[in-house]
């Protein structure tokens, strides 16, 4: 087994030989090897997360025409380490009247729910945790745990602002799970599988799914940003109105965990965007050299993360009634209409050659987008006229 063609299997085999050589039973050795793999994977993710702190600060500085961190190390790249030391040495304040156990559990679940996601992400052709056949629902399920962590934080802090944050979260983050799930249904339908590996494998021929369903990719991006609770949908934090919302009473490392969870969540959704709609790890020579595939995947995920940051630092926060109306009166009907149109078009065009099929699906998506714009325009005209006659 060659390291360059199949790194995980090669390392796992070596470890298994070592452990059984020490006289371990094969099952125990298998579990220990898997445990080591899990620890390695999560450590890699956490190191990446630390790096993301620097990326986020540097990029926001560039968007706002500043320099950003530039003192510690070249281009300030070691800036996260002083940050972490500061967070660890900060006093951890628990407000009086707080509900202790949920209060302490919430940040752990908040970061944990993001880490769990990486168990199913195919990083490269033979580098992945596990090929789960319900991976897309697993994504929604982990979002549910994240939602729960925020509601726990908001409720247990014994603070009005935090409670407002929790209330808003229920109405908003939870609502956007519907378009998210609906946009996940489209790749499921096209691939006939919920496994991320199968979906990435389907895009091997160079036909990335965003060519087949550009609107689906867009819907996923919007719903993912709302699910993240990032600007323009950061109502549950709302720094300028409810002073950080659900994590107002958190200090020190517990706040740090919320922060790390948010950054990692954004990057993870970039990764899912890449895997679902932009070919995952596919690229030149990625099949032969998995490490190259991993590089492509991280690069694509970073690009998705950059788009999410771009939106965050460009668009101002929207009001809660607008946000709910946007979800229930626009995004949800659009997502389900798109699903219906996609399944019918897919059934009709399935037997055509690949090129015609892709072109047809793209045209159908354009048609839906055009119809949506027309409906929006006419409803806006009606609203204007209603205002004018008053």
């Amino acid at each position: 087994m060659n390291f360059w063609t199949d790194p995980i299997a090669a390392v796992a085999q070596g470890l298994m030989q070592t452990f059984t050589g020490w006289g371990m039973a094969p099952e125990v050795a298998g579990i220990v090897t898997n445990l080591l793999g899990v620890v390695l994977m999560i450590t890699a993710i956490m190191v990446l997360d630390i790096f993301l702190v620097w990326v986020e600060r540097k990029v926001v500085a560039r968007f706002q025409d500043r320099l950003g961190p530039n003192r510690v190390g070249p281009w300030g790249i070691f800036q996260p380490f002083p940050d972490i030391i500061k967070l660890i040495l900060k006093e951890d304040i628990t407000p009086t009247g707080a509900d202790k156990v949920p209060f302490n559990l919430a940040p752990i679940l908040s970061l944990g729910s993001v880490i769990f996601l990486w168990a199913v992400v195919p990083v490269a052709s033979r580098i992945y945790g596990v090929d789960l056949n319900v991976a897309l629902l697993y994504l929604v399920a982990s979002g549910a745990i994240g939602t729960l962590s925020i509601i726990m934080a908001g409720w247990s802090s014994n603070n009005k602002y935090a409670l407002v944050g929790a209330y808003r979260m229920v109405a908003n983050m939870v609502s956007y799970e519907i378009p998210l799930a609906a946009s996940l249904l489209i790749p499921t339908l096209l691939a006939g599988s919920m496994s991320l590996n199968a979906i990435v494998e389907m895009q091997a021929k160079g036909v990335w799914l965003f060519l087949v369903t550009p609107l689906g990719a867009l819907l996923f991006l919007v719903a993912a940003i709302a699910e993240l609770g990032r600007s323009p949908f950061d109502l549950n934090e709302g720094e300028s109105e409810i002073v950080a919302g659900f994590h107002i009473e958190y200090s020190g490392m517990k706040f740090g965990l919320f922060y790390a969870g948010e950054l990692l969540h954004a990057f993870t959704f970039g990764g899912f965007l890449a895997a679902l709609f932009f070919g995952g790890w596919h690229g030149p020579w990625a099949e032969e050299y998995p490490l190259l595939g991993a590089f492509y995947f991280v690069a694509k995920a970073m690009l998705g993360y950059w788009v999410i940051m771009w939106i965050k630092y460009t668009v101002p926060r929207i009001r809660i009634d607008h946000m709910l109306a946007f979800n229930w009166k626009f995004l949800t009907p659009l997502a389900f209409t798109l699903l219906v149109v996609t399944v019918l078009a897919h059934r009709l065009l399935m037997s055509l050659p690949l090129g015609l099929y892709v072109a047809g699906m793209f045209l159908v998506n354009l048609l839906v987008a055009w119809a949506t714009l027309e409906v929006l325009r006419s409803s806006a005209r009606r609203q204007r006229e209603a205002l004018g006659t008053r």
Binding site: M41, I42, I108, I115, F116, G252, V340
Partner: protein, 118 residues
Amino acid sequence: MQNPWIYIGLFVLVGTIIPIAPIVIAAVLAPHKPNPIKQSTYECGMETVGENWVQFKSQYYIFALVFLIFDVETVFLFPWALAVNQTPLFVAVEGVIFIAILLAGLYFVWQKRMLEWA
């Protein structure tokens, strides 16, 4: 491995232990000097008035209700989306009817102006 959930179980286990670690380290290293002012509820410097568990408008609840129903609907649609490629066209139409019935519900709620934030 036969059951992928063994791996996911390990992942969940380690994934919860790793966020706990920094909290424990911080609890050991950080200073701990509580006093009543510091521990009081933060309201931008104002004194807290009344109970902290205040009541909110039930409009939030309407949206949570609609969400609950649609969440279950998507759960029904995932098996449908898996099967629709290998089955006759009838199955696709059946899913379309399913979606249409629920969108009709959304339309009803919308027309009755219960989705307005008033």
